[in-house]
Amino acid sequence: MNARDVLGLVGIVALLPLIGAAFLMAFGRRLGSPRAGWVATGLMALAFAWSVVQLAALLSLPPDARSHVSIIFTWLPADQLHVNIGFLADPLSITWCLLVTGVGTLIHLYAIGYMRDDPNTGRFFAYFNLFAASMLILVLASSYLLTFLGWEGVGLCSYLLIAFWYERSTAALGGKKAFIYNRVGDIGFLIAMFLLIAQFGTLDYGATGHAALHASGGITTAIALLLFLGCTGKSAQIPLFPWLPDAMEGPTPVSALIHAATMVTAGVFLICRAHPFFDASHSAMTVVAWIGAITALVAGTMAVLQPDIKRVLAYSTISQLGYMFLALGTGAYAAAVFFVLMHAFYKACLFLGAGSVIHGNGENQDMRVMGALRRFMPYTAGAMVVAWLAIAGAPPFDGFWAKDGVLEAAYVRHDFGIWAVGIVAAVMTALYMTRLILLTFFGNARWGTSDAPAVAAVSGGSDDDDVVASEDVEAELGYEPDYLPTVVYGEPPRTPRLHGHEPHESPMLMVLPIVTLAVLSIVGGIIDIPLRGGTHLDAWLEPVFRGAPITESFAGAAALSATALAFGAVGILVAFLFYRRGLPSPADDPLQERLGVVGDVIGHGYYYDEAISKAVDGPVRGFATFLDRDVDQRVIDGAVNGTGHLVRRAAEGLRHAQDGLVRRYAIGIALGAAALLLFFLAYAGR
């Protein structure tokens, strides 16, 4: 088999998890808890192995020939438009395949442990596999429409998984929110595809890429911006980001999968795939860069005071995605892809670590009642410290190289404003991550303070029966339906839930993926170090982004890195200043007190959610009511009903002609005949 034959079978990468999803939907319940997970994980591992084979096959070809389209069949033969089900194997898609299947496998493995006691494990892993399959279809597609299929599949699976514990109202709402925000973005993607069909008559990546070079500026800008609207939904950028923090309602492995391996990087991927349109439109690039930079900064500030460990990470993801779009907007595609990969390692590590902390801490997500956990969960703590240094941009961890590449690209392109915003956002990153680590693993232990079991028994003394009943429900569901784990800013600290026990480290099955990801966070940067001969990823992706402006490496790079490092160090120092001893008591946060009103604003996420609620409930609802009451019920219904009324009234009048007198009918016939006769006599004779 030569390399091209192997590349023709690239679809198997997506097929394997798809088979897993179908199989688990049918038999998942019967397989039960650990086995369903092992099936799903095994298929993901196979998909990873096949991706590695694909990588080898691509590497065996000369760089310029590293692109292979395999058409499976014609999907939509519609007049001039032919849309194929086809897979495109090139450095970009295979990079993403390796990411999705590789990190995905580790998250699957972790989820076996995390979801062990859940009674719906079969359903969970079916969705999990479907999630990965959708993402793989998205990245392997050879046309926009097939990518859109995966795009929608990812949206669907995020809905299903965020609302996995749908008995909890907040989880159900979180799922809906994710879906609706994504739908808003999808409109942009759809209209962009309509424009592509109207302008170029094709949706193939190859053909549209060539056509973009000769298209007019207005068209390329419109297509690029509409695609970017889709990306802001999927990748949680301003203005469509608020669904991501609420996506924390799902089980923690879901958060890791959404944030690290799948879904949110889809927007970055789409821009990479559609880069000819962005290359051709300077204004679209500027919009992307600035939206990315502002998102990076704003989301970073939102994360600073969150009490919930997972919500900090959620805002962190938004912020980090902002960096990726910042890189895309400056044309540094390879730097953005590098950032995606490195971010996947440390963010997956952080999420899985957070899951481990929550798991070992009585399902408590409130960092204000954690502290000093390093002594009880050493592996998790160690791994998360590594990931923290990585995300904060400390050398030689992978985040340092990634962030450096992005900021350097912005600087070299003389986008100094964007570079400055990126640097300030780096302070925020360092600040909130250091706070997270210090509050969770260091400082004073706050999880045992008010939690003597005897006190709990006294306070709930008369409700013994209820307690037993709720425990039965819990055993059946695998979790407590009434317990809302997510803590939002402004809530009083949660009661510690350890009931006198000590926090404990998670089982090896969960620790192993965390540690693996931590190791990857240390060494991952090696694939693209900005030294002579070290930029493997740049060289590998070069054929994909040919035609895109190339960022020259320059002499002042070291000074830039030092500046970024100094700013990062400021963030870490500030956090140490405030949190080195933990919190004086769970209720008071020294940084929050210092910030005062500003703290309230950023803690509430600039009241963005509230503003959206107000806008939708006020003017938007008013406008909708106007459309309903006045336009629909009066104008449109009025026209329809008026037509009916008119016919009815005419019929009322005319029916009296039908009076039942036979002789009158006869007169009518006779007169009619006479009239016809006269007519023929008068005209027909001529």
């Binding site: 009296h656 002609a657 039908q658 039942g660 007198l661 036979v662 002789r663 007169i667």
Partner: protein, 105 residues
Amino acid sequence: MIGAFTITSSYYLVLAAALFGIGAVGLLVRRNVLVMFMCVELMLNAVNLTFVAFAKALNDAAGQVLVFFTLVVAAAEVAVGLAIIVAIFRRRRAATADDLRSLEG
């Protein structure tokens, strides 16, 4: 023979017109259903007469053939029409056409 008096086709046509006129007027002025029915028959046969007259004048048998069709159809119509009239008389004594208007609009 009374001189050069020959009966041309116009005699037939005048007779047919007269018969048709009597039938039509009878249909319009009489109220008895049975009489109206007879008037309709009269009109039909007036038309038949014109057919035969033209067939003879133009030396074309098609007109006569058509008369046969008319007779057959008229026979069927008489059978159905009389059945309806009998049914009406069974339901209501001495009904006139003007009384049969229960389906008015």
